[in-house]
């Protein structure tokens, strides 16, 4: 537990430049979409929540390469394994920190853009981004030692995982607006999150070891 908290604390103070770049892309895309649909406010209203979730997931996919990259390049992962320290704790700490540094700003951005009108939208973005980070971490770990272009390979690996997450998140929004019953979707999103967490903590250490071979 001490190691876990220490890892989160030291990761939180990393240079946020790369994260800011990703958030800047998000803002630019939203402005572009806003300008394009300025003559159709109804279209903007109807598609905004879905667009926000879709863009958030896309932004998370773009950022996944940074998840372990720095630690990989400076030799920290190798050192961690040589020390026999728990790699699962390290992975969980890295994902949580990544989410705190990217997921929380995304939720706040989405809240600002939508005027904090729907708590369900914020919950959807929060769980969808965290779930995608947990699943995408496996792909990120696998791509560390590949000579292929990670900017293409990693989103290709994570896209099939991201689509069900986006469908469930968007489904909860559409269903609420139609029937008002969002509880089953809350449960489904929570369930997906738990499955992703378990899967990630089993598969990610294997993927990191595979990359280190």
């Amino acid at each position: 537990m001490v190691n876990f908290i220490r890892q989160i604390r030291q990761d939180l103070y990393r240079t946020p430049q790369s994260i800011l770049q990703v958030l800047f892309v998000f803002l630019n895309l939203m402005i572009a979409f806003g300008l394009l649909s300025s003559n159709h406010p109804d279209l903007w209203q109807a598609f905004l929540p879905i667009l926000l979730i879709g863009l958030s997931c896309g932004i998370v996919s773009l950022s996944l390469d940074q998840l372990f990259r720095e630690d990989w390049e400076d030799g920290s992962i190798e050192w961690l394994m040589s020390e026999g320290k728990s790699i699962e704790i390290y992975i969980l700490a890295r994902i949580i920190t990544h989410w705190l540094r990217l997921g929380i700003p995304l939720v706040l951005f989405v809240g600002l853009i939508s005027g904090f009108a729907s708590y369900l939208l914020l919950f959807g973005v929060a769980t969808a981004t965290l779930t995608l980070m947990l699943l995408g971490a496996v792909g990120s770990a696998l791509c560390l030692n590949t000579s292929a272009n990670n900017a293409i390979l990693l989103p290709l690996l994570t896209l099939p995982l991201g689509i069900p997450i986006m469908i469930v998140s968007m489904g909860s929004l559409i269903n609420t607006s139609v029937s008002g019953g969002a509880f089953p979707y809350f449960l489904l999103q929570g369930g997906l999150l738990l499955i992703a967490c378990a899967l990630s903590l089993v598969a990610c250490p294997f993927a990191l070891r595979l990359s280190l071979r």
């Binding site: 220490r6 030291q10 103070y13 990393r14 240079t15 390049e73 400076d74 030799g75 920290s76 190798e78 050192w79 394994m81 040589s82 020390e83 026999g84 990191l208 070891r209 595979l210 280190l212 071979r213």
Partner: protein, 192 residues
């Protein structure tokens, strides 16, 4: 008095990308031993060291004493550039501030203590990474080309520190392309 080995390598075979690096390699590491792995580039020195360090996983051909703790310094220094030397070393070794100060004074690195690693030269970064070895108070040191990037004085300090470690019952396995100025070494030559 005979000393018992703290690590035994028995019949270790390693193939990388279809190329046999070493076959049925056997040796023992006893307290006080300094084992130097030599050989041309690509002969498997680093690979053998990584196998001994348990990277990426421990191997049945490498048997370690129960509870044996080791410190590994590879080619990469494993230092966080945005952190100070103090933060890096305390986080990685769990040493007390007093012990950290003592070791850094011995290594003449105390002036770097509160500097961010990004502001250090390559040689200074290597010295900080090597300072992990005495700080972690482990019996077995595994070091990959320790004196790369070090100036003559820093390299001499490192060998002094290594000699002291061996005299106090520690052991070390290291790779080196340069001559190793230790009083007693065992050399293992790898030919790839």
């Amino acid at each position: 008095m005979t000393s018992h080995p703290i690590l035994i390598v028995s019949n270790l075979t390693y193939t990388y990308a279809g190329r046999l690096l070493f076959r049925d390699l056997c040796f023992e590491v006893c307290p006080g031993d300094a084992i130097v792995l030599v050989g041309p580039n690509g002969s498997g020195k680093t690979t053998l060291l990584r196998c001994m360090a348990g990277i990426p996983e421990s191997r049945p051909a490498i048997i370690k004493n129960k509870g044996l703790k080791q410190s590994y310094v590879g080619h990469l220094n494993a230092l966080k550039l945005h952190q100070t030397v103090r933060q890096n070393l305390l986080n990685q070794t769990g040493a007390t501030s007093e012990r950290l100060m003592k070791i850094l004074l011995e290594k003449r690195l105390s002036s770097l203590l509160d500097r961010e690693v990004r502001t250090l030269s390559v040689g200074q970064r290597r010295q900080v990474a090597l300072a992990r070895l005495p700080l972690s108070e482990t019996k077995l040191w595994l070091v990959d080309e320790p004196t790369t990037h070090l100036d003559k004085t820093a390299a001499a300090h490192f060998w002094e520190m290594m000699e002291k470690h061996l005299k106090t019952g520690g052991a070390a396995v290291l790779t080196s392309h340069a001559p190793v100025p230790l009083s007693k070494t065992k050399v293992i030559t790898l030919n790839g």
